[in-house]
Amino acid sequence: MSGGPGLESLVDHTISVITNDGRNIVGILKGFDQATNIILDESHERVFSTKEGVQQLVLGLYIIRGDNISIVGELDEDLDSSLDWSKMRAHPLKPVIH
């Protein structure tokens, strides 16, 4: 990840966004601005639960308001495809409490 603290280096890369309400949305970063508002293409949500493996919900093109974003992670696609998410069980992430 090169460049400054912005998200330039992640444009057109697959990213994993964790929102303030604890959701995890994976998609291709198409744009962003100063306030960390982001545009995600071909996005889907990964729903974690302890009862069953990770469920994927197709969302499509999304704009997420910066206020609601906690983390933007660069997804290592090789690593990601090597993991069997359908067997992963975990509590959903807690929401951010300011």
Partner: protein, 140 residues
Amino acid sequence: MEKTQAKPDSAAGNVDYKVTPSKEPLLPHLRLPAPTSATITHINWSSSLFFSYFKELVGREVTVELKNDLAIRGTLHSVDQYLNIKLENTRVVDQDKYPHMLSVRNCFIRGSVVRYVQLPPEGVDVELLHDATRREARGG
């Protein structure tokens, strides 16, 4: 700061006098060995104290605890005016409990969700921060 004014020493012909750097460090007792970039001797505290302080820590291993209780450890890559933080080679501290970011190696953390940043002990100069925060409180 050491007195660097060269006194003529007739006895020693080849005295190696220290040369004063043109830009004196504002806080000369700051001694941070910079692991990746050249050591910065001058900090522009006037812009933003903690922004400047975090910039000094780039390249070091830190743990960022978020307001959703997630703790992420990684190498500090960069920080900006909002104290957004970019980490490299990240791992979540309790990976069994939080497998959500297993395939994430580099991440951007929004400054607004950071609760704590745990710094390497050798990266903290308490005296320096005391002085700087007092100066800031006095209004420069």
